[in-house]
């Protein structure tokens, strides 16, 4: 008996069949003659299975309806919107500076990156260039956030697959960085650290934070190797991630995938390189690229990205210039704190900016930023008032979810958790 026939037989009894083209429950009895009418061995029927929205492995409230043939997924339909809070509508009634806390709650595990994406769009609309030190600090915190985001992803992805230790280990390192965020702005997750024109004037990098970050960076590469020691040769990890949820480079581009999901398929596209912002063009770093487009390659890309982030961070710390962290633009930014307390005009000015905000020139901008999950784009339409006429959030999790059915078909029901885990999906961002 050849291996192929053996596989078919196994398929007919509903055993695990790993190849998407492999046998299935409707397979005919082995040995039935060609040309004869084929009879299935058993009565079979497609099964419709609902998963979520309340399910611990859906990273929030995602609901997926699976059409199954035995254990094989024929069709996976995501039902979104369980966390839809109407952020785009809310923003139309808020001043530009009031939108920043809303962006924290999009991808709530990577709030720094969302802040950055939003203030960049507003600054593009207003033609603001932020001071040099602010650019460095922004790059530093967004790379810290990238490490935090990827650590979070690694821990939860491994937990979904059944490895619990890695979850505790990644959260141990994540905690160190969150403590630094707390030292900078008082919050660990919903940071609201960025301002239009710079960063929180009270939250400059202190020597203590820099020293702690340097300590973190010296120990971090060894920690990454620890994680890889648990995973890279782990048979379960390899079996559950290799050749799972494969997407070709062409399809990945056509489905609009961005971030690690796109680069895992071998497309060398990173907005930090393509349209440099911050100080990314002044620093040496590389874009890691996968080749197979499977879950394992996306894991590898994220691991390498953490190494690159650490590299960016230490270079930024070495070159961190002195100077202001906030642009001084009367009518847009607050006057200096000490002046507000002593000078009448400054107090009035402060009051005006706090209550009325600032107006932007009429027009529209689209600004895409590379967040840990992919391209987070803000499309702002301004009618010249102090509130956006329309704010559109191009959320990577939402667009990536469009490829879900394509990537899930043909795999087993046990893989479904790793398939949406591989996007690093966060429903707050997906449903907005």
């Amino acid at each position: 008996m050849t291996t192929e026939q053996h596989d078919d037989e196994r398929g007919s009894f509903g055993y695990i069949v790993h190849e998407p083209e492999g046998g299935s429950a409707t397979e005919v009895a082995p040995g039935s003659a060609e040309g004869e009418e084929r009879q299935p061995l058993f009565r079979t029927e497609d099964l419709l299975l609902n998963m979520g929205p309340q399910h611990p492995a859906t990273h929030g409230v995602l609901r997926v309806v699976l059409e199954l043939e035995g254990e094989k997924i024929i069709k996976a339909t995501p039902y979104l919107g369980y966390l839809h809070r109407g952020t785009e509508k809310l923003a139309e009634n808020k001043m530009y500076s009031q939108v920043i806390p809303l962006t924290d709650r999009l991808d709530y595990v990577c709030a720094m990156a969302n802040n950055y994406a939003y203030v960049r769009a507003v600054e593009k609309l207003m033609g603001i260039t932020v001071p040099e030190r602010a650019e460095y600090v922004r790059t530093i915190v967004s790379e810290m956030q990238r490490i935090v985001g990827h650590l979070f992803w690694l821990g939860t992805q491994a937990l979904d697959i059944g490895a619990m230790t890695i979850f505790f280990w990644t959260f141990r390192e994540r905690e160190l960085l969150l403590d630094l965020f707390e030292a900078l702005c008082g919050a660990r997750l919903t940071v609201s650290y960025f301002r239009v024109g710079g960063i929180d004037p009270q939250g400059d990098l202190t020597p203590e934070v820099i020293a702690k970050l340097r300590t973190f960076l010296t120990s971090f590469p060894a920690k990454l190797e620890e994680y890889e020691g648990l995973l890279a040769e782990n048979r379960i990890w390899l079996a559950r991630t290799r050749n799972i949820a494969v997407i070709s480079a062409e399809d990945a581009v056509n489905f609009g995938l961005t971030g690690p999901a796109l680069r895992g398929s071998g497309v060398a596209y990173d907005i930090r390189k393509a349209e440099p912002y911050g100080v990314y063009d002044r620093i040496e770093w590389e874009v890691p690229i996968g080749s197979h487009g499977d879950t394992y390659d996306r894991y590898w890309v994220r691991m390498e990205e953490m190494r690159q982030s650490a590299r960016i961070l230490s270079q930024c710390l070495d070159r961190l210039p002195k100077g202001p962290i906030m642009i001084d633009l009367p009518g847009v930014t607050y006057p200096r704190r000490d002046k507000v307390m002593t000078d009448m005009e400054s107090l009035i000015h402060h009051f005006k900016v706090a209550c009325y905000g600032f107006e932007t020139p009429p027009g529209e901008v689209y600004c895409g930023t590379e967040t840990p999950k992919g391209e987070l784009g803000f499309y702002l339409v301004s009618d010249g008032t102090n509130k956006p006429y329309r704010m559109r959030i191009r959320a990577p999790s939402f667009v990536n979810m469009g490829a879900f059915d394509h990537m899930a078909r043909g795999y087993l029901i046990a893989d479904i958790v790793t398939i949406f885990g591989t996007y690093d999906i966060v429903m707050g961002e997906c449903d907005r």
Partner: protein, 190 residues
């Protein structure tokens, strides 16, 4: 160097209705019925290669004759170039051809615009609501005539007065009904 609007007009005559170059971004207004051929050409032309649809959304301008603006953000990964296409859609015939045949990414994005703006996408493979519940019938939330406070059953909530446009609701105005908090008299009997 020809502008992209000229290039499009050259290949697909009658497609371009206008072009704007502002904030370092190019925007081309496309005639509504030509959107699919234009997108197909921009996607396929090797010198442009807009392989990726970054975003698709809509903007509502209630005062204008053609009320909706469908906005396409195109991205060329090869040339690191972006382009914004726009097509106007009037309320009287609120539909436009779907670009799903060109970019699969448009599938969910068009569903979202359909859901929140009520613009139909012809030849869309699966045009269903995506954010709002399927039985939702209170209108289209992102249209400008839809109040941010919501409408329908939400306004019947007793603890929050209905918001009127132009009126700020102060916290003191919220009627606090303390009767429910007091311990019930016949508590011991039940």
């Amino acid at each position: 160097m020809q502008s992209i609007a000229e290039l499009i007009e050259q290949h697909i005559p009658g497609a371009v209705r206008g072009a704007v170059d502002a904030f370092g971004e190019q925007t081309v207004l496309i005639a509504r019925e030509m959107i699919v051929p234009v997108c197909r050409w921009l996607h396929d032309a090797p010198e442009l290669a807009f392989e990726q649809l970054s975003d698709l959304t809509a903007v509502d301008w209630p005062e204008q004759a053609e009320r909706f603006e469908v906005v396409y953000q195109l991205n060329s990964l090869r040339y690191h170039r972006r382009l914004r296409l726009k097509a106007r859609v009037p309320l009287s015939s609120c539909e436009i051809d779907s670009v799903v045949p060109v970019w699969q990414a448009a599938n969910f994005l068009e569903r979202e615009v359909f859901d929140l703006f009520g613009i139909r996408f012809c030849q869309h493979p699966d045009l269903r609501r995506i954010m709002m519940p399927e039985e939702y019938d209170e209108g289209y939330p992102l249209r400008k005539d839809f109040p941010a406070a919501g409408k329908g059953w939400r306004n019947t909530f007793k603890f929050w007065p209905a918001m009127e446009p132009g009126r700020d609701v102060m916290l003191t105005e919220i009627p606090i009904d303390a009767s429910g908090l007091a311990p019930s008299k016949d508590k011991g009997t039940s």
